[in-house]
């Protein structure tokens, strides 16, 4: 609180990004956790909430006649432009936000003050929703070849690894410790994914400290043990996800990569994924393109190419595809590493797992995948996503790239994922929001020391509770696309990778498709479910009445007792006899239309907004679009056409055409 120089500024204008001439007049509030803009307009009182932890950069621009402009760029790709009448106020807001957006202690983060009104028990249940020991059990572990090792108890061997690790049975503590001494930050090879069907596995580690000629017997034995744990193959792939040049440069620093001559039966492979600095700059360049005001098609495509972003996405996908193929087609185990084994390695292992195992394409499975390959194995969330004030050179969109890879796959396999695009977007949002404790700190050790589970809430429980919002209507557990390994073409084509405007331009609502097929289909499915229930109830009632009537007729005419089936056959006859009535009746059918249902959910979402636990709702226009989008998606209500929808976007587009 002591950092807030001015808690409230009036007559601030929020500039519309699409048509800069338009601006909403309102009041700006600074709280301990949020920047809040409330419009003056009495009929809307629209609110825009921005979490301090989402703020990426704040830019004070040259004062103009209308006031002092302040540009806030957020980590979830929202851009807010405010015009504050007084220079002094603007400066106060600027200085306050600079400090608020850069907390120095974990305790300052939102998750320590966020209270979703759950009791202790509910909070604890939330934390056990995703259980990694369950996940290893699901993979079929421990078994004849793999065992749970307690070598890292109390983080004695490696402080960025979890305590529970699976290693080959033949790898003794001596081998493990020896190997760990020969690996960067002692991140020795451990199991990431095990394929029950053919015993092939994906293991992960950091680079070996091989320098130009060093070798380590235990490390060689460790790889040997991994190979032996897969009786179906007589070699192990070692995949170095770095460009060869980078790996060679590391040798001068006493690090490097495995020498094929020293390790028996390995096949060594480089896959050139660039380092975190290249990725950070690439995203920066792409965001500059997204930010352009009315760019030409050439500006956009040229800028997109120049950023190299999609090339990097493709490199990560290619690595994942290589590993998935090695495991599923060759039945070979793979050891993956990069330098420290917590960025590219995490990306590649999780993409490969997603390709191999349909479980990870379900809602819960995807949470498990992030929990396993990212959270437990010590991906440095705090450093990469700048939760606490730190070295800006450590920041890089590593998990963003993984999330985009998943989206690219969803585009190619629309029925294969249980979750939808919104799920990915909300996870991305919360990685930066620090509203839940899951992504805090850099390792399991740090999280335990901070007692995260006792002091904060779990995102997974929140997402699971609202899972209805995240379902992909096209997903069907029994569909062929959901079964087994993805069969991607051997040479994936470049044009498969597309710009993800739903993520990077997600706050420019006018750029997104105005009607969402996903929401429409979900509404239809919801109605279908209600119809199924009603059908059952009607059939029951009908049966009852018919029984009563049949009893009557039996008494009267003393006919033999008809079976239930004859009851149904009469209903069949009536179908055949009255085709015209049938369509007429359709119209009058007063089912609870999904549009009603959606309005309800919109209301619920609005309440959520107050708690600000829903990322979309921290955006200015979302609260409305929630209602407006849904109004056009009622499959039965023709009158519920998207009036709001078109009406709203009209003006914004007007500007686009005129300036274009």
């Amino acid at each position: 609180m002591e950092h807030i120089r001015t808690p409230k500024v009036e007559n601030v204008r929020l500039v519309d990004r699409v048509s800069p001439k338009k601006a909403a007049l309102g009041t700006l509030y600074l709280t301990a956790t949020h920047v809040i803009f409330v419009e003056n307009s009495p009929d809307t009182r629209k609110e825009t909430w921005i979490l301090h932890s989402q703020i990426s950069t704040i830019e004070k621009q040259a004062t103009t006649a209308t006031g002092c402009p302040l540009l806030i760029r957020c980590k979830n790709f929202q851009i807010i432009q405010l015009i504050i009448p007084q220079e002094r106020d603007c400066h106060d807001v600027y200085i306050s936000l600079i400090r608020l957006a850069r907390p120095v202690k974990y305790e300052e983060l939102y998750c320590f003050s966020f209270n979703p009104m759950l009791d202790k028990e509910e909070r604890e249940q939330g934390w056990v929703l995703i259980d990694l020991s369950e996940e290893y059990k699901r993979m079929g572990l421990p078994n004849h070849y793999w065992q749970l090792s307690d070598v890292n108890r109390d983080y004695r061997v490696c402080d960025s690894y979890p305590t529970e690790l699976y290693v080959p049975k033949s790898a003794t503590a001596h081998i493990i410790v020896g190997s760990s001494k020969f690996r960067s930050r002692r991140r020795f090879p451990v199991l990431s994914y095990y394929c029950k069907d053919n015993h092939a596995s994906i293991c992960r580690s950091s680079q070996p400290l091989s320098g130009f000629s060093a070798r380590c017997l235990e490390d060689e034995q460790m790889l040997q043990a991994i190979r032996k744990a897969n009786p179906g193959s007589d070699f192990v792939y070692v995949v170095d996800t770095r460009p060869k040049l980078n790996a060679m440069a590391n040798r001068a620093a006493g690090k490097g990569y495995e020498n094929e001559d020293n390790y028996s039966n390995i096949k060594f492979q480089f896959i050139g994924i660039e380092n975190i600095h290249v990725m950070r700059n690439s995203l920066q360049k792409m965001l500059e393109v997204c930010e352009l005001k009315s760019p030409s098609m050439s500006d956009f495509l040229w800028g997109l190419e120049n950023s190299g972003w999609l090339r990097h996405i493709k490199a990560i996908m290619d690595a994942g595809i290589f590993i998935a193929k090695a495991v599923s087609e060759e039945g070979a185990s793979v050891l993956v590493h990069c330098s420290d084994g917590w960025d590219r390695t995490a990306q590649v292992c999780s993409v490969a797992s997603l390709l191999l195992d349909p479980h990870y394409r379900t809602l819960k499975g995807f949470m498990v995948l992030i929990e396993k390959d990212w959270i437990s194995f010590g991906h440095k969330f705090n450093h990469r996503y700048g939760n606490l004030d730190g070295d800006p050179k450590e920041i890089s969109p590593v998990i963003d790239q993984f999330i985009e890879c998943v989206w690219q796959l969803m585009e190619q396999f629309p029925c294969a994922f249980e979750f939808n695009e919104r799920f990915l977007i909300h996870i991305q949002h919360h990685i930066y929001s620090c509203q839940f404790g899951n992504f805090l700190c850099n390792s399991q050790k740090e999280r335990r020391e901070l007692k995260i589970q006792e002091r904060t809430y779990s995102l997974w429980a929140h997402l699971w509770k609202n899972r209805a919002d995240y379902l992909n209507p096209l997903f069907r557990a029994d569909h062929s696309q959901t079964q087994g390994t993805f069969h991607l073409p051997t040479a994936p084509c470049n044009f498969m990778y597309k710009f993800w405007s739903g993520m990077y331009n997600r706050f420019e609502k006018g750029m997104q498709p105005r009607q969402s097929v996903t929401d429409y289909l979900m509404a239809v499915k919801e109605e279908t479910q209600q119809l199924e229930e009603e059908l059952e109830a009607l059939e029951e009632r009908l049966e009852k009445i018919q029984k009563v009537q049949l009893n009557c007729t039996k008494v009267k005419s003393k006919q033999s007792e008809p079976s239930k089936h004859s009851g149904f056959s009469t209903s069949d006859n009536s179908i055949a006899n009255t085709p015209q009535d049938y369509s007429g009746n359709m119209k009058s059918f007063p089912s609870r239309s999904p549009s009603q249902g959606d309005e309800d959910s919109a209301l619920i979402l609005t309440q959520d907004n107050l708690k600000s636990s829903d990322p979309d709702l921290s955006a200015n226009s979302d609260q409305e679009s929630g209602v407006e989008d849904l109004s056009c998606r009622s499959p039965s209500g023709g009158e519920h056409a998207p009036s709001e929808d078109s009406g709203k976007d009209r003006d914004s587009d007007e500007a686009v055409f005129l300036t274009a």
């Binding site: 997204c290 009315s294 760019p295 030409s296 098609m297 050439s298 956009f300 495509l301 190419e305 999609l310 190619q412 396999f413 629309p414 029925c415 294969a416 096209l474 569909h479 073409p489 040479a491 994936p492 084509c493 470049n494 044009f495 498969m496 597309k498 331009n505 750029m511 498709p513 105005r514 009607q515 097929v517 429409y520 289909l521 239809v524 499915k525 279908t528 059908l535 009607l538 009908l542 009445i545 009537q549 009536s574 179908i575 009535d581 049938y582 059918f589 089912s591 056009c632 499959p635 023709g638 056409a641 998207p642 929808d645 976007d649 009209r650 587009d653 007007e654 686009v656 055409f657 274009a660």
Partner: protein, 475 residues
Amino acid sequence: MEEMCFQWWVFLFCLSFLFAPQALSTLDSITLMYPFFYRPMFEVIEDGWHSFLPEQEFELYSSATSEWRLSYVNKEFAVCPSYPPIVTVPKSIDDEALRKVATFRHGGRFPVLSYYHKKNGMVIMRSGQPLTGTNGRRCKEDEKLINATLRAGKRGYIIDTRSLNVAQQARAKGGGFEQEAHYPQWRRIHKSIERYHILQESLIKLVEACNDQTHNMDRWLSKLEASNWLTHIKEILTAACLAAQCIDREGASILIHGTEGTDSTLQVTSLAQIILEPRSRTIRGFEALVEREWLQAGHPFQQRCAQSAYCNTKQKWEAPVFLLFLDCVWQILRQFPCSFEFNENFLIMLFEHAYASQFGTFLGNNESESRCKLKLQQKTMSLWSWVNQPGELSKFTNPLFEANNLVIWPSVAPQSLPLWEGIFLRWNRSSKYLDEAYEEMVNIIEYNKELQAKVNILRRQLAELETEDGMQESP
């Protein structure tokens, strides 16, 4: 049988489209082409040649306005060879004046009604460029005709689909544009849309980029950019949005023309209608739109759609003008997936038939050719006769469609305009998973409808039984 026919057609299609032996794909004599030998294997329920008559179309808005009339001045195609025999013109302008205006407009294409916006009575007209030449010729009848479409005190916009520079250069060749001094109630806007030979180059480059087998992400994007295809999409859509905006938001009538008034003009007038008019987003309405704004309006299909992207020799008149229009429609469909009665397959089907077809619909360059010289109506089958059979229609129907009576404003930001993969990458990537997704979508909606029907029947049955019950009990 129909299946066999279809395969035969596909075979011919491949021949002309992919391998393109010069002799086969550019038959000098149209009457040797497949449609003249094609015998339909289906029963014609409704003859497509008579599905969209100008008189019927006129009736649709004649109830709302009496300011317009049908003119038969071009009955013999003498006034304008590329116009149909019947056109809609302001009521106050007689045929004699029309003849005079025709001499002042490129190709005799005097301003005619393209679209009437019922909501506010504003109109879209289209024409050829005025033949002002270097000495600024004017034509009183032309000025009178155009002004006749304005209501008292109203102003209108002339949208020239060329840049000011190009329009000025056109004066040297006898063409030109409307001088504001002579048309004081009109404001001229220039919206540059490329001429057809540039569009053709663009298509060739794009198809080349799509067929590039090197798997290099950067090269793909730079080739896509260099083709300029999406730039053209953006330009055309922007012009159409501007036209629609003038009509619906500014409440002003517009006249649209480029040079000939047979290419970019039609792209803009037809797309503006997709935006403004809910009817044109239905299957029937879209067919009517294609018939009215492309076929009857004299888009030279024979010249433009001879060989598509794979021609070895430079075809002077070849250009993907119609394909660009379809691409733009797809872009709007993508942004409003529930507002169109037809689906992507419908647009792809129209693309294919425009280039190679067993039907006569897209043969010839205009009505005078197709009707008088080729006698297509007597000698060939109409595409609409085939498409509008219930069995065929079901393939082209969008399961998500829900009538939307509003104006739909698409986004023209580059981020909102992706490549139309269904056309350009259909041979380069498997669509298996996308097709499955479409099927699943249809299943979800069909099952819902089925249940609704069942529930309705049971409800009624129950109601009947309950009243019967009452009757039985009452005696």
